[in-house]
Amino acid sequence: MTLKIEHLTGGYTGVPVIKDINLEIKPGESLGLIGLNGAGKSTTIKHILGLLRPQKGKISLNDVVLTEQPTKFKREVAYIPETPILYPELTLKEHLELTMLSYHLDEKKAWERAHELLKMFRLDDKLGWLPIHFSKGMRQKVMIVSAFLADTSLLVIDEPFTGLDPLAVANLIDLIKKAIANGKMVLMTTHVLADAQQAISNYAVLNNGTIEVIGSLQEIRQHYGLKPDDPFDKLYLTLNREDHSNA
């Protein structure tokens, strides 16, 4: 399985937000999408999830093209959004059951995995709870548990560390590392690079809807003329200056 994004141009209206994006993630690889607010990270993710129709270009997982076989494509994609979105009428247990049904998982094996994940995120005694009773952090944990339960080839993770306690952040990083080691692909957007670099090896810098550079953090530092011991926040200052000079 390989995720290929070829010449993707798209956005919300006729005016493209992202322009001619090309990305490739192979099994066991991870990619972090970084950039300032409005750079096009979330728009790229929405295209990969099939929530927006590309104006140009193609997104595929192996030979399965998203726009041609959306359900088959989505069966290989799990998503953790920045803001947790749950079904108000389903309990935690039912969210997991819905994930099992949607991704055609073997119920017995899925429950074994679910119990491990629930214990890890301290949700194992809250199976009967409705989302209204969860805090924001707990809701985010439900999203994480559901995504890792789906056991898909590609994990799309949008700003995952917001609202999580340090223990949950550590567990999530650990899960991402294990997923990559097991040959899964991970695409993540984040501003919290200190946490992200523990799991993600390569990064793509998005600026004004285009990819400026792809590489390791070391290569990105070099590209923007940052010294090895410069804090990474300096990258954002550089992007901000570029943004202003373009304007």
Binding site: L49, K74, S102, Y103, E107, I132
Partner: protein, 409 residues
Amino acid sequence: MRELAKKRLSENLKQSVKYLTLVFNDFFILALIFLFGALMFWYAQAMKTMPSNLWFYRPLVGFILWVPLLAGHLVTLIKEADMQFLFTQDEQMDQYLKPMKHYSLVLPFILEILLAGIVFPFATIKAEINIFSYILLVATMLLIKVTELDIEKNNLYLGKKASFSIVSLGALLAALISAYYSYIGIVIGVLGILLVPNFQLTFGKRMDKTMLFDWRYAAESEKARKDRVYSIFSMFTDVAEKQVAIKRRKYLDFLLPKSIAKENPNLFLYRRSLLRNPEYLNLLVRMTVFAILVSWLVQDWRWALGLSCLVIFLTVYQLLPMATEFDRNFMYRVYPIERQNRGKDLVKVLTIGLFIQWLLISICWLIVLPINVSLFEAMAILLGFTLIVVATYLPNRVKKMNQKNFGIR
């Protein structure tokens, strides 16, 4: 703050007018005119025949005049964001709430005066309340409403809060007593006139100088009030602003399959939505109760059958939004859920719901209507009608809605 209140009131009025125009459409107005005409005709006829001055007439007048007081809680239009952005304005909130209180009085005053006009012949002729006492009774009711709103306003500040049900019961008691003993009505009226401004002065001062505004309570109360208003509008039209509070209803879990082996995601979601979303389950219950009540009132199987068929059709019609309800959920669109057959899944779920509705109506018919062969025939016809609606109308409409939303055929 007064300007902000006026701006919000004007926006609120615009929104209310928008929904009222939708609710009181031509057909509804026509139906209301007929209903009102029929009711007034019955009232005029009854006035000719009913005996005069029975013991319960006066308390009945008091009760009827108390009913409009239930309408129109204090409109505050406080928003959640006010907790953040108006946090420092506690001392100005009294200025903000003044126009709000005046606005809140409009609806109950109109209803009270309208109802007082309708009840006037009965009160003065049959209950033999003299005109002066009656006017004073109505004035007392209006003053009680003002006092109720002042209590609600006082509750918006941190501190001990008066229970609205106790206040309302007190108002009912005052209404019953004033209607029964005209001279006490005069005393209550005079006391009201003296006490209400005094009440405002006493509590008004406390509000301004010593009390902190309870932002969270105010925001929650206003949200609850708006939800109640939207619930009324939503019985007639779609209300975009309405937020639904899901109820767990664990006691209904026996209606869900024990295993998910034979489920699919759409069936799974629709079943739980029907059982836990108050919009849908309450509608089903309300319509069933309505059908039973109407059947009991008409006491004739033909009318009961016709009206119950109408109720079943209206239930299906009002449950149609279920077809596309998950399309607004981001995760529903992200998950690999097939949408091709979801119309059939909804039909399966609603068939069970409507079958239960038919069963309940039929059982109640056996209790409230005269039992004969025709009644059993009516039950069979009602079942046949339900099945036809479920097999033809429902799938057709669901298909159209899915096509409109996603081009699903």
